[in-house]
Assembly symmetry: C2
């Protein structure tokens, strides 16, 4: 891989460069030319409220007084107009040595299995280069990506940072790693691009509602493309797609149901049982590990009336390597 270009511009994560809603009324904090490389310092999803010493009490406090994902930006791209496409070349990610995974009290209804987890949970990871240390000898390969990145919507008002939209936002696409390019449909003049909520790793699905949440510095190139016509985010990627390489052992549980959400829940319930019974993790540890590393795949969506979703666990993360 070629070296990361020297950024043309930098944005620190100080208050004046951070916002916690999507809105086309946020004034740009930086204006760049198409093709410029920008270094974004990003806060973590909790806005620093869960750090390397986080406890479940901190999660309860976070649940009681939330706040949107802190996003660094917005950056205006000179000449961007509605109908254009903003290409975001993701070039580099630097973490700061720790990350946090957590889930909220079940009564709030967040995550795939709130009814199975009434109490909140938290897990602190030590990040060392491209390895995340979970504890118990479990080591997870890291390949960081931004959970939340997008441009401002045309719809006026302040919009929550939680749901993703056609202009991007909280996509949580774990394949947007260094080397990937995300295409976003521009809806307002300048585009108004922002980014944050970085994850050291995440399973497809992000089932407990968090990946390995971590403050990071992201380097990205912003380019306008006018010959492309898209309705929603599209992307190119060349990165690894899983924590396992072809040939590595994987254990999978299935969900067979007439609804994809129910099938997803069944597959993850069974993977949590597998991790608890066969690998000795607590159920809370298993839920967090599923969110960080287990991939949900749609196996088939056409054999009516039953669809199949499976949960894939890379077994190379365990100390015995199998």
């Amino acid at each position: 891989m070629s070296e990361t270009p020297v950024p043309d511009r930098r944005l620190s994560r100080t208050d004046e460069h951070v916002h916690q809603t999507w809105s086309n009324a946020h004034d740009p904090v930086l204006s760049v030319a198409s093709g410029d490389v920008v270094e974004f310092e990003c806060r973590d999803a909790t806005n620093g409220r869960l750090d390397a010493d986080a406890t479940v009490d901190d999660v309860r406090a976070l649940a009681e007084r939330g706040g949107g994902h802190p996003l660094t930006g917005p950056v205006a791209v000179e000449g961007a107009e509605p109908g254009d496409v903003l290409a975001v070349d993701l070039l580099d990610f630097e973490h700061e040595g720790f990350g946090v995974s957590y889930f909220y009290p079940g009564e709030l209804g967040w995550g795939l299995l709130p009814e199975a987890f009434p109490d909140p949970g938290v897990h602190v990871w030590r990040l060392d280069g491209d390895v995340g240390h979970f504890g118990n000898g479990i080591e997870v390969p890291l390949d960081p990506f931004p959970g939340n990145l997008g441009v401002a919507p045309a719809a006026d008002g302040e919009h929550s940072t939680t749901p993703p939209r056609r202009v991007g936002g909280n996509l949580d696409v774990k394949h947007l790693t260094a080397g990937a390019t995300l295409y976003l449909p521009v809806e307002v003049a300048g585009g108004l691009f922002s980014i944050g909520d970085c994850h050291g790793a995440q399973g497809d699905g992000e089932v407990c509602v968090t990946g390995i949440e971590a403050p990071m510095t992201v380097t990205a190139r912003l380019r306008l493309e006018r010959d492309r016509d898209i309705e929603a985010p599209e992307f190119e990627t060349t990165g690894p797609f899983s924590a396992f390489a072809p040939g590595d052992p994987v254990y999978a549980t299935t969900g067979v149901a007439d609804d994809l959400m129910d099938a997803s829940k069944d597959a993850i319930r069974r993977m949590i049982a597998h991790l608890h019974e066969r690998r000795g993790l607590t159920r809370s540890e298993a839920y967090v590990l599923c969110s960080a590393i287990v991939d949900l795949k749609i196996n088939e969506v056409v054999d009516r009336p039953n669809w199949v979703v499976s949960a894939y666990l890379p077994e190379g993360i365990f100390p015995d390597g199998q």
Copy 2:
């Protein structure tokens, strides 16, 4: 990989070894000991009605007078009792040089996008070793698997071969390639295992309702496991997970919606548009190619109210390799 063991027993695909429903009343055509290796000759999903000369008229005829997937078996495993687990070690697959992908008339409601494809479609593939030739220089890596394999259900009666169930059946899990082991919960004495509906390749989702459908010969070991407790199929696999290796280029379209099925439809609609507009395929060719090679992934299922499903196209299949 070690050599495939010499089978202990063989089952040809003659009428007396083939059934087209799931039922615990089907007499076993073979009884084996736990650990025996069996070679199964399998017919294709259409029971030979679509061959290397298939046309859309043949698909219309198939739609008018269907019939279940022809399955080879059932095989009784001596000593198997309800509550046991049958482990199926998949060892080897041999195709016969051709495969067929097709989709039914939209009015029948099959497939992910029936409303977008009122007319049926068919595509014949030439299979050469581990490569499937689509035409237009497009070459797809093959890694065969059985679409439909399982044990007999405890529920009496004749059951359709189309929907998968907790005892397996039409799982269409493309990761059950040579080297994988499928675990199935036994519900009746002897287990009564059957297999068929082999695919040379398939994308996660199988969106048009078929993979590369092909007659094949499958070699598998049948083993009882009594220390395992499962509610639904589980599996171990070490095979490749996609038609692309880590580092290969991939293009992806996204669906962002408050329902996983709607998100899946949007992602595939956009991938069909991409293949048509950027790669010059007809929309019918694009639908078939999506079903054979494009993977649907659940990116996130927790950022309420909007979930994200993306469709991943391996670009190495095109003649220019990118």
